[in-house]
Symmetry: C2
Subunit: 300 residues, 2 copies
């Protein structure tokens, strides 16, 4: 499975970066290959200063070796080896009418001292962070997510949609990071579901990522905007930074387990503002977004 899934994300990275380059039209992804001292490495692809994408990354990595102590404590295990691979992407568009998107698809294996697999699971998801809310965009993103889920079981969409709202909750602000999507973790084989079944589900979602996001970008990328809207986007990007640095488990794991910093922090937006005690005008478009972030909605 580790080889199968790694080959899959290699191809997916090619497919996604090619499509996004075509959407942007101006700049290409720059690639960095890196090695992890303790085992494994990655292929980071970053896009900057595009016509559409101001900054973004579509990264894959496959790392292995002895499970670092911070992760041993987290998983409550001792003296294990591990293998982890995944694709992780974040795109920060220039135009505040185009939402930021994040997606991640990952696979994890743990081994005992005799190198037997003692645990294995998939995780991942995709979620959208608009600066201005176009309800039809939110509905589109969630519908595509639901279609992918529905092929693999009842209530998968409902379950993972709720997990997404829970996970991307900026608790110190009492608001969601964005308008959600899907979030799943520790998907392990059971009596009713083989590892292959789970692989089929995860890759189904991943295969539909471009369909979920690109039509929204195409629809909004040429809308005009003014400086105040750009300021609002940069202020909201500050909340994105707060979530990723204070709450996001993936980011904190990376920082505490000697991951490649520049690949982990490619998720941070290019230009960000913090204004003291900023509140949008009542009944403005900005206030309408906040309302939805304060109490997540059902979109389909």
């Amino acid at each position: 499975m580790r080889d199968t899934f790694y080959k899959y994300i290699e191809n997916l990275q090619d497919e996604i970066t090619e499509k996004l380059e075509a959407v942007d039209g101006k700049v290409k992804f720059q690639q960095d290959i890196w090695k992890r001292k303790e085992g494994g490495g990655g292929r980071t692809r970053v896009i900057e200063n595009g016509d559409v994408f101001e900054k973004g990354g579509v990264n894959i990595s496959a790392v292995h070796g002895h499970l670092p102590e911070a992760m041993q404590n987290y998983f409550n295990v001792r003296d294990c080896d591990f293998f982890a691979c995944g694709l992780s992407l974040v795109l920060h568009p220039k135009n505040p009418m185009v939402p930021t998107v994040h997606a991640n698809f990952r696979y994890f294996e743990m081994y005992d001292q005799q190198n037997n697999i003692v645990d294995q699971w998939f995780g991942g998801g995709q979620d959208l962070t608009p600066y201005y809310l176009f309800e039809e965009d939110a509905i589109h993103f969630h519908k595509v997510s639901k279609n992918a889920c529905d092929k693999h079981g009842d209530n998968l969409y409902e379950t993972y949609k709720e997990k997404c709202d829970d996970y991307f909750w900026n608790s110190h602000r009492d608001e969601a990071r964005g308008i959600g999507g899907l979030f799943f973790d520790y998907l392990k084989p059971t009596e009713n579901k083989s590892l292959q079944n789970i692989y089929d589900f995860v890759t189904e979602v991943a295969n539909q990522f471009l369909e979920a996001y690109v039509p929204i970008v195409e629809k909004r990328k040429n809308l005009s905007y003014h400086q105040k809207q750009r300021d609002w986007q940069e202020i909201r990007r500050g909340r994105y930074v707060e979530f990723n640095l204070v709450h996001d488990k993936g980011t904190l794991f990376g920082l505490k387990t000697n991951g490649r910093i520049e690949s982990i922090l490619m998720s941070l937006p290019p230009y960000v503002q913090w204004q003291y005690n900023h509140h949008p005008e009542p009944n403005s478009d900005e206030a309408k977004l906040l309302e939805v972030l304060k109490s997540p909605k059902n979109w389909v």
Copy 2:
């Protein structure tokens, strides 16, 4: 002591904000009084869009009540009441030739169920974060810090200077946040030092804050700079954000114990950039700063 120190920081806040307004010349601090639901509150003073200070805050607070669970776990105690008060300031100048500064002076008491004081201590310090290194400024800041320490004991400066370098270490970047200063915590009465002795020391340092910082501001605030230097300042401010949100105990405590978010996060800079894998030109002024941040120096 709690009343004595609170009166002291009330006056100190007045003194510092008056002086900084005079230095800025354009804008005044805006004041917000806030109450904490569980007990106590604060007086937040924020300056924004000044000629000299792009954003900053000089805040005092005094909070009390039942010790929140997160802090019980941190201090490894159960069912205590507490009182905490302090002054906390961060100033982000507009001109990249003027360093950012942070200072904090705080006092903490813990009580048992019969309301007896079971523990009490002072903490605090001051530290400087330049974007361009003027060695004479670093020397000045450290000399004033040392003078304040030397009146209260041998090796205090050396001890607290080293603690400062240790504390403000951005471990995931393997570099210091700035060029240091003083950091002390859990200063408790001993056989040789009364609580009054410690109060005298902490207020000595606090009284010299303006002398440590303002001459540097006056010297650099009218230097000219160009956009590339401003970009560098905004990129370095990103590291400041990373430290405060990932590593700073005060910030994380505040966020996890229901503190007033806007008062805590006033420390975040107004305009910030994250560029992928940014490295300054070899032998540039920017590279020279990084060298010093990678291996903290002795300045006096």
